[in-house]
């Protein structure tokens, strides 16, 4: 019995180590391009690590039992009549409870972090209008409108979303968070782009025939370039 | 070998009763959904044109009908077929009166808060509509237990049918007890 437990523990440790190394080494998500992406990714990494450990433990236990304790030919005996063991059962209730509560609290902290208005720089407000199947961006501050989303780097942005027909969802994978645009109400999303480059807004809520193609370019540029673009648009 | 049916210890009345209660529970949630919807869509707003006196009147009618249904059931339990018939007939009459009241309100409602263009109209017609549908099925149930075929069963002391239909009728009434204040009183 002790022998089996030790072997399982070693195998599980090895498998978790392998899984964790794999999960953290490989870059699954597109590169971060907003200040809000960092905390989310770190939270997700930790979730992956814990998930890998839990998964490894259970899988090793499962496969090990199936292989090592399999019934041999000619052995018709039953296993030991164990009906349960209260301390163990309490333990495997409490430990997951603690883990998930920890993640909920951590999640709440990160959520607060990425949704609050950040820093002393005034936010750039952009009104985003989603319709089947196009995006439109208005900049009240500059009184311009555009079909591409151009943003100055490192300035907090407040996106005010609304939809004219059905539900759509605003998503730039590099910025991480999504937010639905719902007809009849305004929703908001805060991001602070921190890497210049070209990205795409993708509609992430099923909205009909051309849902797959409801895209718009996003350009994060230097503030001066942004000011110049805004002036040109006005003309 | 023929197996005697009664070898299984089966308490039929208890089984039937539990089944009925579970069904009513489930059906009750239908009204829970609709009542919640009313507050979610409209808060406690209510247009001034809602006909409160008429609402109150038909509520009383429906409650009275429940009283007669109860008397009918008791009579059935004692095997008093004549009294049973009289009471259930009154119940059906009051139920029909209630429906007539709803029809008048619908006519008024279409005028003041049409369901196609006001949120209150939408919740009003949905709630009263679903309830009226229940009243209609309840009336059908009550008519069924008055049919001649049923009397034999009553005389032989089996009044489960009456009990079930009357319970259902009470349920329809209780549902209205919640609907009336939500539609006519709150604001």
């Amino acid at each position: 019995m002790k022998k089996h437990i030790i072997i399982v523990a070693c195998l599980a440790a090895a498998l978790s180590a392998g899984l964790v190394a794999f999960l953290l080494r490989v870059n699954f998500m597109p590169p971060e391009a907003a200040a809000q992406a960092g905390p989310v990714d770190r939270l997700f990494d930790l979730l992956l690590v814990v998930a890998a450990v839990v998964f490894a433990l259970c899988l090793v236990g499962l496969v090990y039992s199936a292989v090592v304790f399999r019934r041999r030919r000619g052995d018709a005996a039953d296993g030991p009549p164990w009906h349960g063991h209260v301390p163990i059962e309490v333990a495997w209730t409490i430990v997951p409870l603690v883990i998930v509560l920890f993640f909920s609290v951590y999640g709440a902290v990160v959520l607060k972090d990425i949704t609050r208005p950040s820093g002393p720089i005034p936010e750039l407000e952009v009104r985003v209008t989603a319709s089947q199947w196009s995006w439109r961006f208005e900049y009240p501050e500059y009184q311009v409108a555009s079909s591409e989303l151009r943003l100055p780097v490192n300035r907090p942005v407040l996106l005010r979303l609304h939809a004219t027909d059905v539900i759509h969802s605003f998503w730039v994978p590099e910025f991480r968070s999504k937010q639905d645009a719902v007809p009849g109400m305004d929703t908001i999303l805060r991001i602070t782009p921190n890497r210049t480059g070209e990205y795409k807004v993708e509609c992430a809520e099923m909205c009909g025939i051309a849902h797959a193609y409801m895209l718009a370019p996003v350009r994060v540029v230097e503030p001066s370039a942004f000011e110049q673009w805004a002036r040109e648009q006005k003309r | 070998m023929a197996i005697p049916q009664d070898r299984h210890v089966e308490d039929r009345p208890a089984i039937n009763r539990l089944g009925l209660w579970l069904f009513i529970l489930s059906d009750g949630f239908l009204f829970v959904v609709l009542l919640t919807t009313r507050f979610y869509m409209q808060g406690v707003q209510r247009p001034a044109e809602v006909n409160q006196p008429l609402g109150l009147a038909i509520s009383i009618v429906l409650l009275l009908s429940s009283l007669f249904a109860y008397r009918g059931e008791t009579a059935a339990a004692y095997g008093d077929v004549k009294r049973f018939r009289r009471n259930i007939l009154v119940t059906i009459g009051l139920g029909a009166l209630f429906l007539a009241g709803v029809v008048i309100e619908w006519a008024e409602g279409f005028h003041f808060f049409p369901p196609q263009s006001t949120a209150y109209g939408t919740v009003f017609f949905t709630l009263t509509g679903f309830h009226a549908f229940h009243v209609v099925t309840g009336l059908l149930a009550l008519v069924i237990i008055l049919l001649p075929g049923q009397q034999k069963r009553l005389q032989s002391g089996n009044h489960w049918g009456v009990e079930a239909m009357v319970k259902y009728w009470h349920f329809v009434d209780v549902a209205w007890v919640f609907i009336f204040p939500t539609l006519y009183l709150v604001s």
Partner: protein, 616 residues
């Protein structure tokens, strides 16, 4: 015997007649009121309701009730034992017939829904549109989703119907006629789901969010009607199961002597009778808005998010409706094939109720990005996380059940083991989704698609396979082919991993769900090819399964009453069981999983039953 004497044939003919009549009358009434005679929505809706009613009448579903109304005798088990194939096509009230009917229907729907998505997978294997239009893609995808879920509801009803009365030692369900009715309203629903394809389909996904679903083509309406009907089947089934469990258990079967599967049915049925109303009404509201112009979800006068609240208030608990019976099957299979008692019986029993209760309070986690108030979001994160705990109790108890056992690797056990591993993948990937900031990235990507296929395969598909291999000898009196069964298992497990593991990778790389096409620049092509290949592997394994099923049905070795040496009651009667299960109520004298103690007994049969069993 003429074909017209089959209930189903008469039902369908009568249904068609009723629908035709209703169409004519509605059109007449409309023109009498001065409206144009034809309005596709209103006319077909009325035709559907009337048609279903007529169909049931033709089937003979109302005969008993009519007899009751007329005051004539109405025995509960009036169906004469007709032990040949025709009873499966008639209004038969025996729970064993009904169980088989449900299960076969479920498998048929799974084939149809699976093939629809395989077509879609051929399209999405490559970026760019190859041979479908985006609209067709969306429709096939949506019909795939809703039909699969309907198939799951039908499938669990099948397992529960066949096994439950046997397990509790009853001769049938509490309300056999209602039970038959619950089954027989399902075929029209399946037909309606298929009708939605040629009537324009619907491109909303299975969730059917308005306002999109209000604008969707006529197909949407058939989907709504179909789901509404399946919902009623589900509610009536739940009432029946609960009554059976609480009023018809054999003497001596206290609550904590019930097999775990019975506990799972309790939890499932409670969820069914309470929550199904919510989705029913939500869909009816969409229907009413479409047909009569009511304004529930109108952005100006209504509330768009109302639908999502109602829908998920059902549909989250529904995911536990889908899996709890399956998890119950795992709990049945494991002790038998590990030759050990179920570890922590009480905790496992109660965890089903815990999952059901907790699952009622988490619906908001599908709406994290939908624009609900932020003070609502965090509580939902906590409740969602908490559901992981009772589920974990189940998983750990299963592992402990296998630990140090004598594991007999027959096909049912192999499927149970796969089910645990696969469900674990699904659960473990569900937890990150429950954490709001992370879900805001994951939501509406293929990560979610991977998550729910893993939970559904682990909680329904694999357990259903385990159940079929496990109870097939009981149902048919023949053993199922072991060699082909193991091949089926291996291929299906491999197919599962090939299909769904890449989905997590795709999702993290930014692949949205419900897209017919994706940007070639994102490098998602290879991953999608793997997914498609995997889908066909699963289909191949299913083909093996059907071959195995049909061959074993004809030529399988005769099965003894208790081929697996199990203790629960259904194995104590002959295979297949007698028409009324038990000649007299058995006496339950001990716990259901007394393996390991040579003298442990769960139940004692009456002398007549015992004699019958020795012959059988």
């Amino acid at each position: 015997m003429s074909i017209v004497s089959l209930g189903i044939v008469r039902g369908l003919m009568s249904g068609a007649l009723g629908a035709g009549l209703a169409t004519g009358l509605t059109m007449l009434a409309r023109s009498a009121l001065g409206a144009p005679a034809w309005d596709a929505g209103q006319v077909t809706t009325i035709a559907v309701f009337v048609g279903v009613f007529f169909y049931l009448g033709g089937l003979g579903a109302f005969n008993y009730w009519l007899r009751w109304i007329a005051g004539r005798p109405d025995p509960e088990h009036a169906s004469p034992p007709r032990p040949h194939w025709a009873r499966y096509f008639s209004f038969d009230t025996n729970h064993k017939t009904i169980g088989v009917q449900y299960m076969v229907t479920s498998l048929l729907v799974i084939i149809i829904a699976g093939i629809l998505q395989l077509i879609d997978r051929l399209e999405t294997a490559q970026p760019g549109m190859q041979f479908l239009s985006t609209n067709t893609y969306n429709t096939l995808m949506s019909v795939h989703g809703i039909s699969m879920l309907a198939a799951v509801l039908i499938g669990i009803a099948g397992m529960m119907n066949y096994v439950l009365p046997l397990m509790v030692g009853a001769k049938d369900m509490a309300f056999p006629r209602l039970n038959a009715l619950s089954y027989w309203i399902v075929p029209p629903a399946v037909i309606l789901l298929l009708v939605s394809l040629p009537t324009g389909g619907f491109d909303t996904g299975w969730t059917g969010y308005p306002p999109l679903s209000v604008k969707a083509p006529l197909g949407m309406q058939f989907m709504i009607l179909a789901f509404y009907i399946v919902g009623w089947s589900s509610i009536l089934g739940g009432v029946n199961f609960l009554t059976t469990i609480f009023k018809m258990r054999a003497p001596g079967m206290s609550l904590f002597r019930m097999p775990i599967f019975v506990w799972a049915v309790v939890a499932t049925s409670v969820l069914q009778i309470i929550f199904t109303q919510f989705v029913g009404i939500a869909f009816l509201m969409v229907l009413l808005q479409r047909l009569l112009g009511l304004t529930y979800f109108d952005p100006n006068t209504g509330k768009v998010l109302l639908f999502q609240h109602l829908f998920w208030f059902y549909s989250h608990p529904a995911v536990y409706i889908f899996v709890l019976p399956g998890l119950g099957v795992i709990s049945e299979v494991l002790p038998v094939f590990s030759r050990k008692p179920l570890f922590g019986y009480k905790a496992v029993a109660i965890s089903s109720l815990g999952i059901a209760g907790g699952g009622a309070l988490v619906w908001g986690h599908h709406m994290f990005a939908a624009g609900v108030e932020s003070w609502l979001v965090v509580p939902f994160m906590f409740t969602t996380s908490l559901v992981a705990v009772p589920t974990g109790v189940k998983i750990f108890s299963w592992l402990a059940t296998m630990w140090m056992g004598k594991i007999w690797l027959q096909t049912p056990m192999l499927f149970a083991i796969s089910a645990i591993a696969v469900f674990l993948i699904g659960g473990i990937t569900g937890v990150p989704q429950g954490i709001v900031p992370v879900d805001l990235y994951l939501t509406d990507t293929y990560w979610i698609v991977g998550h729910f296929h893993a939970t559904l395969f682990g909680g329904f598909v694999f357990p259903a396979m385990a159940a079929i291999y496990f109870w097939f000898p009981k149902v048919t009196g023949r053993l199922m082919g072991e060699r082909l069964g193991k091949l089926h298992w291996g291929l299906m497990t491999a197919g599962f991993l090939t299909t769904y593991m890449p989905m997590f990778w795709l999702g993290l790389n930014g692949m949205r769900r419900r897209v017919a096409d994706y940007d070639p620049a994102m490098g998602l092509g290879p991953g999608n090819v793997v997914v498609t290949v995997g889908g066909f592997l699963i289909a191949l394994s299913m083909l093996l399964f059907f071959i195995n099923l049909t061959v074993s049905l004809r030529r399988g070795a005769p099965a003894p009453a208790n081929p697996w040496g199990a203790h629960t009651l259904e194995w104590q009667v002959s295979s297949p069981p007698p028409e009324e299960n038990f000649a007299a109520p058995p006496k339950v004298v001990g716990p259901p999983y007394g393996y390991g103690a040579p003298t442990a007994v769960h139940a004692v049969l009456s002398p007549e039953d015992d004699a019958g069993r020795k012959q059988g």
